[in-house]
């Protein structure tokens, strides 16, 4: 690590950037503004916490921009066991989150075209194409992404990440840690959990070598506890959706979930979710719902359609429909009970083997059914996501079973989480209209 780089980091991040972002947040909190063309007749004003979310995310990318040379940098898959890297002082970047930011900012077509021009097929995951396009061209809406010193891919969300990170490893010529988590068709075997634990153990010396120092196990325990605390708070936040009207829609959850994905193991993340929970409780006590005239409540399955969040919120909100819960946002909280700082590697092995995406189609169907009951929902929208096969395969039968076996109205919506070229607005609008009509009949 170089002195010049560290000076640059302190000046740009600590002296200039952070105070500016803090000031920006104070301004936004003191004089809250409703975004232009926000349908206040349908939706309540955005949550106040939004200013803090913006500050956190901006600060995260700002730190990344100046991290090279000052701190070791790791690029990690969203379901990756990040606690070891956090304990070793890595700056951790999640290319999937960057992909989501690109989706929200609607720059995916421009950036992924760079990858397609280099020969990457439009049939591979749009997050991966966006990331590779960004790596090849330097294009990003967040200023600049730091180069990785280490890559960590965990297969608990898909096999795509394995192929994607092999491309990154070749491009950057840096070590790739693979944490392979055997798929759980029914229950993880002892030897599968032992296998994951062994890989976690073996990842430590590799990460230590890149970081240049050894792992402090007490620090690891602290970070595991912080991860657990944040995940528990996130679960409570989602649970507030049981109130009528729901104080937060999934479209808000999709935005405010960023810290639980990319800033696990940090005190500021715990504080952030405590503040969000407080705001939701205030809104509940005042009877403020995310949708002004909530009449119907739905579940969302699969990743968001990042580039059409507002459109979907308004389209459904217009009919008094609030999408209250999601199997996707739930996934970032449901494993909190498995984390145990007293058994760091053992509990991490279990936690990172059991995400919903690493479990069978029956588990997902049962989760949907359980959430429909828990949140008293009127139906389910299953986003059939062209870029996410592990989440999407099975949805056709799951939809049919929800309708036929459980009497739960369900709609399958074809799209892609990041690439608007695989999304047809007219078709989506007409399918939503028919579904709404059916819900109201």
């Amino acid at each position: 690590m170089g002195i010049n780089d560290s000076l640059k980091y302190y000046w740009n991040v600590k002296v200039v950037g952070q105070p500016f972002l803090q000031w920006q947040r104070w301004q936004a909190e003191r004089h809250p503004k409703i975004p232009s063309r926000w349908r206040t007749d349908i939706l309540s004003p955005p949550l106040r916490i939004g200013a803090r979310t913006k500050e956190l995310i901006s600060r995260h990318y700002l730190e990344g921009r100046y991290a090279n040379g000052h701190r070791p940098v790791a690029w990690v898959t969203s379901g990756g066991p990040v606690e070891i890297l956090q304990a070793l002082g890595f700056y951790v970047l999640y290319p999937e989150n960057h992909g989501a930011v690109c989706g929200v900012r609607r720059v995916v077509v421009d950036i992924s075209t760079e990858a397609e021009n280099a020969g990457y097929s439009t049939d591979i995951c749009s997050y991966a194409r966006t990331d590779i396009g960004s790596v090849l061209s330097g294009k990003t809406p967040v200023g600049r992404l730091p180069k990785p010193d280490l890559l960590l891919a965990c297969t608990n969300i898909c096999q795509t990440v394995l192929h994607w990170y092999r491309v990154l490893a070749k491009h950057f010529n840096v070590p790739l840690i693979l944490i392979d988590t055997p798929f759980v068709y029914t229950e993880a075997s002892d030897h599968a959990l032992e296998y994951v634990k062994k890989q976690l153990e073996n990842s430590i010396p590799v990460a230590e070598q890149v970081a240049g120092h050894t792992l402090d196990y007490r620090r690891l325990q602290e970070i595991i506890q912080l991860s657990k605390n944040a995940a528990e708070l996130w679960l409570e936040i989602i649970g507030r959706g049981r109130h009528h009207p729901a104080p937060m829609s999934v479209f808000d959850q999709f935005i405010h979930m960023a810290p639980i994905v990319e800033m696990r193991g940090k005190q500021e993340t715990v504080d952030f979710y405590a503040a969000l929970l407080k705001e939701l409780d205030e809104n509940i006590s005042k009877g403020i719902g995310a949708v002004r005239n909530e009449r119907k409540r739905l579940l969302w399955d699969n990743l968001p359609i990042w580039y059409r969040l507002r459109y979907l919120a308004e389209n459904l909100g217009e009919h008094g429909i609030c999408v209250v819960a999601s199997t996707y946002t739930n996934a970032w909280g449901e494993l909190a009970p498995l984390m145990n700082k007293e058994k760091p590697l053992e509990s991490m092995a279990k936690t990172y083997t059991y995400p919903i995406l690493n479990q069978g189609t029956k588990y997902k169907l049962d989760t949907m059914k359980r959430m429909v009951e828990k949140f008293q929902l009127d139906g389910v929208i299953l986003h059939s996501d062209r870029s996410c096969k592990p989440y999407s395969i099975g949805q056709i039968d799951q939809r049919n079973l929800l309708i036929q076996e459980y009497g739960i109205p369900a709609l399958l919506l074809e799209a892609d989480h990041d690439d608007p070229r695989a999304y047809a607005e007219e078709q989506v609008a007409s399918r939503l209209a028919s579904f709404v009509e059916m819900l109201e009949s």
Binding site: A118, G119, Y120, S121, D123, I124, C125, A128, T155, C158, Q159, T160, L162, H163, W164, R166, V167, A169, K170, L176, L178, D180, P182, F183, Y185, T186, S189, H191, A192, E194, Y195, K198, Q199, N202, G360, T361, K362, L365, S384, R386, K389, P390, S392, I393, G394, Q395, I396, D397, Q398, L401, E414
Partner: protein, 360 residues
């Protein structure tokens, strides 16, 4: 063709007549010897091509590859009615999804067994896979009532290893045998359903043939599966000669014998140390090195990447592989296919132009 290969249907009927069980096995890697030790005969399902895909389409989205679509369609149309079980290795997200919906939601009449294949070549990967195979062995014991001991397992392993060595020999002697690409690959692909002992006899017979063909334009074929098989006729007609391949159903399964005397570990070693394969997590560098060596050893002038549409494991590596080959003076083209469609005219034209270019 001078070698008569028994058709798949006849082979299955013979096995059933002898009282054996048949397992339909999906791509790519699995322990043939383990199945045989329980008198279970593996018959592989790589699609097949040309089935009514609407049956699979009722359960799978259009962005799932045609191999998986066709396999499900084939199952639904009764094509696998004669088999006693399905074994589905965890090869990719699509096969993972297929296994999961078969176990949880669609439930065919036969039992379905998943097999997780680790994505690394590390010591812990061998240990894990050996344990997976041991677990599968317990499942087969419960199913068949048979309890092969270590000696039985090692006998089965050695029979498969002998057959694999003969397969390798076929590749080494392809030119001397004078088989066309079509003939050669029909023979090689019969390993997908012939019992090892039957395949070995066939291979020994083929190795006796000595009829030199005029050398063609030397190329390597890379991809998952060469379906539709018309691609070989096309290459034959244009005087292309496939001197080696990097196909998941063929060359990527030239397994080396394991070294351990412990049978489960030996089977795991065989699979894990097979030629580089993206579905088992081999790095792009390993694949580049392997392709370059293959090209050098066999004198190939170019590589045809023959990719099944929507196959992520193949598609991710293509740009880097092609760049690396280009740097070493090897030309390549990428042909994308849906195994349910006939070889498109455009693909024929492109292969033709590519071979002409190599010949020039």
């Amino acid at each position: 063709m001078r070698i008569t290969i028994p058709p798949r249907k006849t082979v299955i009927e013979d096995i059933k007549d002898r009282g054996g069980s048949v397992a339909a096995v999906l791509p790519i890697h699995y322990p043939r010897a383990l199945l045989r030790a329980f008198d279970i005969y593996p018959v592989e399902v790589w699609g097949p091509a040309n089935v009514d895909v609407s049956l699979g389409g009722a359960h799978l989205q259009p962005y799932v590859c045609s191999i998986v679509h066709n396999a499900l369609s084939f199952l639904k149309m009764g094509g696998l009615d004669t088999v006693d079980m399905l074994l589905i290795p965890h090869t990719c997200d699509s096969l993972q999804g297929l296994t999961s919906i078969l176990l949880d939601l669609i439930k065919p009449k036969q039992p379905v067994f998943p097999l997780y294949l680790p994505r690394g070549q590390r010591a812990e990967d061998v240990v894990f896979l050996a344990e997976e195979l041991r677990t599968l062995s317990t499942v087969f014991s419960d199913l068949t009532g048979k309890h092969p001991d270590n000696d039985d397992l090692l006998t089965a392993i050695k029979r498969e290893e002998a057959s694999d060595l003969l397969l390798r020999k076929l590749y080494d002697h392809k030119r001397q045998m004078g088989l066309s690409n079509s003939e050669f690959y029909r023979l090689v692909r019969s390993r997908e359903y012939l019992p090892a002992e039957q395949f070995s006899v066939l291979a020994e017979d083929a190795l006796q043939i000595s009829a030199k063909l005029a050398p063609g334009i030397p190329i390597i074929l890379s991809g998952i599966v060469p379906e539709p098989m018309e691609v070989f006729n096309t290459i034959d007609e244009m005087h292309g000669e496939i001197v080696a391949d990097d196909l998941a159903c063929c060359g990527r399964r030239l397994y080396q014998p394991g070294t351990s005397s412990e049978p489960f570990r030996r089977m795991a070693e065989g699979i894990i140390h097979a030629p580089p394969d993206p579905t088992r997590g081999n790095s792009i560098e390993e694949r580049v090195k392997y392709l370059l060596k293959m090209a050098e050893d066999r004198g190939a002038k170019g590589v045809i990447f023959y990719a099944v549409k929507f196959c992520e494991p193949e598609l991710f590596d293509l740009p880097e592989l092609r760049n690396a080959l280009k740097k070493h003076g090897l030309a390549s083209i990428n042909i994308e296919v849906d195994i349910n469609n006939p070889l498109p005219h455009q693909a024929v034209t492109r292969i033709s132009a590519f071979l002409e270019m190599l010949d020039g």
